[in-house]
């Protein structure tokens, strides 16, 4: 005997099957990091919300999760920023304009950009963690009057490996947005901050009673940033982290991305700190 949901499923499109996209403009950001524009080979680009991600498939190599890093109002293509760390990410950074790629998505829960209206917004990013935050920054800048103070705190390994450096400089010069950058290591010609990004939090100016914080970076960095934000008086319900776990399916079916009771692929990647604080404090969950 078969429940109704069973018969309904067979007629749906298969969520494991990628759509074909073509690589458009490419931009080498850093020695190991490339930003690509991907346009659908047929039909329209689906809508996405800042903080969501796609699964990108390179022929015969594999498929990985990559956040959207472009402007959600540009409806012609998806933009992704990929760092070469292994087989699939390397293959993506080596694609040329005109190449085809498989794409599934967008997936997941994004940043609470609407809920943040009326509040100060503090965006805390470590390294490549700035990529998933960039669509949120575009959204906030496009709707600047709806937000209070906007603060970007960004940590980079060194001044030369700084992601989106020119864009950061432009935002800082021309727009009503406060940007603090820190680097782990620097030579004498760097006059900015040296140290870890959570250390910027106590010095930043925002209304702790009315702030939403968006954090993305390596897990340790997010751990310290969330603590520093909580210490600065931001309630845990108003701190959001973009979590990372191994992902094979992105659709809640493979089990890999589990984080305690949640699936990062469908309940996240963006998670409210209050919801995960207890398990976040436990090792190897």
């Amino acid at each position: 005997m078969v429940p109704e949901s069973v018969s309904a499923a067979a007629s749906l499109p298969d969520p494991f099957v990628p759509q074909i996209y073509r690589v458009g403009r490419l931009r080498r950001e850093l020695h190991d990091t490339v930003t690509l524009e991907l346009a659908p080979s047929a039909g329209r680009r689906p809508a996405f919300r800042p903080g969501q991600f796609n699964m990108l498939y390179v022929f015969g190599v594999g498929e990985i999760a990559v956040s959207l890093s472009g402007d959600s109002t540009d409806e012609t293509h998806f933009v992704h920023t990929v760092r070469d760390v292994g087989a699939v990410s390397k293959a993506i950074t080596e694609l040329g304009t005109g190449a085809t790629i498989g794409l599934r998505g967008p997936f997941g829960v994004g940043w609470p950009v609407e809920a943040a209206e009326g509040s100060d917004v503090v965006l805390v990013a470590g390294g490549l963690g700035l990529a998933p935050l960039r669509p949120a920054i575009y959204h906030i800048l496009a709707n600047r009057v709806r937000y209070g103070r906007v603060v970007i705190l960004f940590g980079s390994r060194n001044p030369h490996d700084m992601l989106y450096r020119h864009e950061l400089e432009e935002w800082r010069q021309h727009l009503d947005i406060s940007i603090e950058v820190t680097v782990d290591h620097a030579e004498a010609d760097w006059h900015g901050n040296v140290g870890v990004v959570p250390a910027l939090i106590p010095r930043a100016t925002f209304d702790r009673h009315n702030t939403i914080a968006l954090v993305c970076g390596p897990e340790v960095m997010m751990r310290y940033s969330a603590s520093a934000l909580a210490e600065a008086g931001v309630p845990p319900e108003r701190i959001y982290l973009s979590m990372e776990r191994n992902m094979k399916c992105a659709i809640g079916l493979c089990g890999h991305c589990q984080f305690g009771p949640t699936f990062i692929c469908k309940d996240g990647p963006v998670m409210q700190f209050a919801r995960i604080a207890k398990i976040f404090a436990i090792r190897e969950v």
Binding site: D14, P261, E284
Partner: protein, 386 residues
């Protein structure tokens, strides 16, 4: 297949009628699968005739141990469950998701569904029906549905059987999943065997089941037949070898993620993953990508995976769960606790397979009991749940 409004019709059939049932299903192009003896275990395989069923065999199970023994009668279903479950058919260990081709104008991707079989399962236990219902929730009730699982599942014809024997490792009674089958079948059998007869009480669970029964020689079940069937189930219920206290178990485990018992069990656990592959509800998979030598075609294959491997939680730079203790904790808390957050049901149906097939005899009921006996955190303490 729709539930029959007059469902619950009960009849009695003979062993010969069971043979006709198998033939009728084969004639409808079903792949008829059922229990059979192979290599010293009862496994699920193609069944062409009643003679393929494990007549006169029973299983003896204990933590880390399994063997077959002769029964004193010729019962066809006089055993509990073996190392395999129906999961291997509905959610196969290896499956090609799709094939990609590299052409002049780039890649194209296609699926091939032409080989989707129509299954008929003979001898599905109550715990296994619950396991199938749990996998239905996992694969079909989420925001995205597993299309090929749905295709295999929707046509499957299920002949359930009420258990006449409980193994020492069984604890379905504690999980509320058996030994009596309650839902999710087309036909359900209860085997009645003694010196004077060998018959089956049949309960109809669906229209398709009723139609099939109509084509078999049968007589209406008398009150005495129904009482005899009830007695079989009651006897099995009272012979249940193990127990798992489920009251407050989710909260207890989630409040004890740093309990020293996790390290203690990890000292015994080989992280072999046997428990996950024999478990009828474990659903995790990984994927592999292969391409041909010419580089013109590639396929994406999905395979069962286990949370006991290091790769399972691999992120660039290292695995999240490096210790065996964190991996056992992930498995057990998923089964007994976070599954409830995720799918509104426990992930354990009390079949006992993970206990029997663990090479070192680790027992999920004993591990849960050990934590209950020495909680480090107050039961019900709030934690980061949903």
């Amino acid at each position: 297949m729709q539930h029959r409004p007059d469902g619950g019709t009960k009849a009695v059939i003979s062993r010969e009628a069971l043979q006709q049932l198998i033939e009728a299903l084969s004639a409808e192009n079903c792949r008829v699968l059922g229990p059979t003896v192979r290599d010293g275990a009862i496994v699920y395989d193609e069944i062409a005739q009643v003679g393929n069923l494990p007549a006169g065999w029973t299983d003896r199970q204990e933590a880390g141990r399994y063997h077959l023994e002769r029964r004193e009668d010729d019962a066809l279903f006089g055993f509990a469950v073996g190392p395999q479950s129906w999961k291997q058919f509905l959610h196969p260990p290896v499956e090609t998701l799709w094939t990609a081709r590299q052409g002049d104008d780039g890649i194209s991707i296609a699926t091939d569904r032409s080989e989707t079989p129509i299954f008929a399962f003979i001898g599905v236990r109550a715990c296994e029906l619950h396991a199938i219902a749990i996998q239905d929730r996992v694969f079909l009730d989420g925001p995205y549905r597993d299309v090929t699982y749905g295709m295999r599942r929707q046509d499957a014809f299920i002949v359930a059987v009420n258990c006449g024997n409980a193994a020492a490792t069984c604890f379905c009674a504690s999980m509320g999943t058996g030994p009596k089958v309650d839902a999710g079948f087309d036909l359900a059998l209860t085997e009645l065997i003694d010196a004077t007869r060998h018959e089956f009480v049949v309960e109809v669970g669906s229209e398709a089941g009723g139609d099939l029964l109509d084509r078999l020689p049968h007589r209406p079940a008398a009150n005495a037949d129904l009482l005899a069937a009830e007695a079989v189930i009651a006897r099995t219920q009272s012979a249940m070898g193990r127990r798992l206290e489920t009251d407050g178990l989710k909260e207890l485990l989630q409040a004890n993620l740093n309990h020293p018992r996790w390290d203690e069990v990890a000292a015994r656990c080989l992280a072999c993953g046997n428990c996950t592959s024999v478990c009828p509800t474990c659903f995790c998979t990984t994927v592999e990508d292969h391409s041909d030598l010419m580089g013109s075609s590639a396929e994406r294959i999905r395979k069962w995976d286990s949370c006991f491997t290091l790769d399972f939680s691999y992120l660039h730079g290292g695995s999240v769960r490096t210790t065996a203790s964190s991996r056992y904790r992930q498995w057990m808390t998923h089964k007994l606790a976070s599954w409830i957050d995720q799918f509104g049901t426990s992930g354990c149906v009390g079949c006992g397979r993970c206990i029997t097939w663990c090479p070192v005899g680790i027992d999920i009921t004993a591990e849960a009991a050990a934590i209950r006996a020495t909680p480090q955190s107050r039961k019900g303490e709030p934690h980061g749940g949903t």
